[in-house]
Subunit: 197 residues, 2 copies
Amino acid sequence: MREKNPIETLIDLMARLPGLGPRSARRAVLHLIRKRGALLAPLAEAMAQVAATARECLNCGNVSTGDVCPICADEARANGILCVVEDVADLWAMERAQVFRGRYHVLGGTLSALDGIGPDELRIPRLKDRLAAERVTEVILALNATIDGQTTAHYIADQLEGRVALSSLAQGVPIGGELDYLDDGTITAALNARKRF
Amino acid sequence: MREKNPIETLIDLMARLPGLGPRSARRAVLHLIRKRGALLAPLAEAMAQVAATARECLNCGNVSTGDVCPICADEARANGILCVVEDVADLWAMERAQVFRGRYHVLGGTLSALDGIGPDELRIPRLKDRLAAERVTEVILALNATIDGQTTAHYIADQLEGRVALSSLAQGVPIGGELDYLDDGTITAALNARKRF
Ligand SMILES: [Zn+2]
Ligand SMILES: [Zn+2]
């Protein structure tokens, strides 16, 4: 069999992105080749830079280009409030709403008996360590309003009971809804009306 | 304003791909960061390579990593039949069908009075040059069944009249197609071109 040329290799790799199938990958690659100066070359450069520098923040689990992410490095955000989210997409959704000024803790998923994911597979031990280290007074459980999300929220609430104030996002997050799908206004309203867990 | 970090830059560039909006770009970038060894680094490398090498085949307009594409370079495909298509995506679609063994000529669009696209904006002069140079005996006009595609096919047919045999793809019901989903024009064409059972 003949060797694949670089264009075919690029199409195959692009087709592995979420939301792109083979057909949209081909369209995207043709678009990139047409705009190879304005888009393809900068994209190659940005990808190489992210590949070389991206890692998980050692403190909170956010993606970062340094050992500690900009939010954890920002002393102005050490206000004693931690917002616990399932994944980085949720953190980004909270940040876009521009209403929360504390820090985050990214679990990296939810507890799931079915998938064999227990507390140690998530970033739960690290969450406990942070309570003292960062003088945390309130933990906001901003998990998705799904069964797994709420199970995880209850588990964490049990673990932290009596050590900090616990709250969760207000009703207003639709049943079965995921933070990353919500508009900024809904997130703002839910955060402002958060209630004690 | 603070400078954008490489991850934000990557999201912005990804959001400019056809079929990806800001949200799917964010999802794609998180996926890439999670798979930075298996997917992000190879993708960066493939993009850099395509950015450095991709160009238009000087002969047919196909995308290529050399001055002449593999199809034009393949002497076995010099069978005197040229298939004229609108763009490279159409050429790829024909190649996937693995049924055409001649060469292609990619116009780079269709004639459009509205958009000010005349014959010289397309690869039509070059098509005429190829007829003699490659001893072409048949030109298949494989343009899209749109008004602009068919206008362009008629224009080229007028230009080449008497110099080569001209043909176009048959119109009819697609394989697996249901009549109820087809537009009236397709049904009319299929009925007019009906053949004995
Ligand atoms: Zn962090
Ligand atoms: Zn060619």
